[in-house]
Symmetry: C2
Subunit: 204 residues, 2 copies
DNA sequence: CCGGCAATTCATCACTCGTTGAAATCGTCC
DNA sequence: GGACGATTTCAACGAGTGATGAATTGCCGG
């Protein structure tokens, strides 16, 4: 292919008119492609093509493919403290419900692709190998479970993780029809009691 | 690298003495590497190296990388009917326990790598994209749930899948330490009631 | 109006991938 | 024991990868 947006004539070099934000376009495209194809499967050329830009821009703006991945997927500007606080704010007996609902609504709106990218690439060798653990458990669930003050907080956090990650895989990665299309409330109703039991129930 | 087993001298061509089964060695190596690296990440050269054999043997015995994957991972000689029958044999009230235990013991012994390979490669673009669904749901859980005779069998099967797949991801793919090392009985005790509720409990 | 800086594209490099065909070697049957 | 077929390794190809450096262009301060 000769150009990027046009296959016949060569695209003009130099800055683009209209002050378009190439960096941001690359970040968006990267999240999409990483979510669809995983870290290895996402080629820089495919990402650049989706951003309608030359592949060399990845190196120009992020230094390397790994740098782009770090900024697009792992460097989530997330208010972790606020999230933990919101989860803990309310009846402990309904914490399970808040966790599922928060997870689903967050992923359904903005971060759906981010979770898929994180998980898909967590299964890849490459950067971000253990960031799923750091993110889900170390940063969120373990603090929450500790604050609740139950026994075996780490094992309980792990149990909650299995259920939440399982939902994420089925809904956002594998995209099993019936579950990917299911209503958030329906899933919350069905799953929340199971998670609640992992948090405050008898598991030993 | 010059040879395969020896970096200095060239390995002798022609059949190997002692009637070693190259095909089987390749299948075993393929299951391992596919499980570790996913479909794209597993290179034919890496698989062949683990089987201590030249990469061209993959094409000789299986035609292509995809053929090897199909036979090594997807073509599991599994007694599905027998599995379904064993699950249904016994108290319905303890079906959840049987499902988790069967899943864990099967994966811990032989098929651990197979599940990881199936899931990792299910997240890859490549062959075997929807075989996770066909295997877990269509072939196993949906028939079981239908035989039990509850309402919403498909949705219940989906819920069970989320929990089982989540355990599989955390234990065999992401390998979170605490859960990968956990005792089977401990996990069964903690998780079985949740799955049992998905099967026979109130979820709507 | 012009000089420099930043942004963008192009051409290309070295490397790895899956695949292929030929050469070499072993086992077996007559 | 000699020929033939099956098995194995080797060398190479074409495509695609991430990365790099030069060439080109627009924008902004003087």
């Amino acid at each position: 292919m000769v150009g990027v947006s046009n296959g016949l004539t060569q695209a003009r070099r130099g800055p683009r008119p209209g002050g378009v934000d190439t960096r941001a376009a690359l970040l968006d495209a990267a999240r999409e492609v990483f979510a669809e194809r995983g870290y290895q499967g996402a080629t820089m050329r495919a990402i650049a093509a989706r951003a309608d830009v030359d592949a060399a821009m990845v190196n120009h703006w992020f230094g390397s493919k790994e740098g782009l991945f770090a900024e697009a997927v792992m460097d989530i500007p997330f208010d972790l403290d606020g999230l933990v606080r919101r989860l803990l704010d309310g009846d402990v007996g309904r914490l399970g419900e808040r966790i599922v609902r928060t997870f689903l609504t967050n992923c359904d709106t903005a971060g759906g692709g981010v979770f898929a990218a994180l998980l898909r690439s967590g299964a890849d060798p490459g950067p971000g190998g253990h960031h799923l653990h750091d993110f889900v458990i170390t940063s969120i669930l373990a603090p929450v479970l500790r604050a609740v003050g139950v026994d075996q907080p780490d094992f309980r956090a792990m149990l909650v993780t299995t259920q939440v990650v399982g939902i994420g895989v089925v809904r956002y990665v594998a995209r099993f029809d019936q579950f990917a299309a299911a209503d958030v409330d329906r899933i919350v109703t069905a799953v929340a009691p199971a998670i609640q039991r992992y948090i405050t129930g008898d598991i030993a």
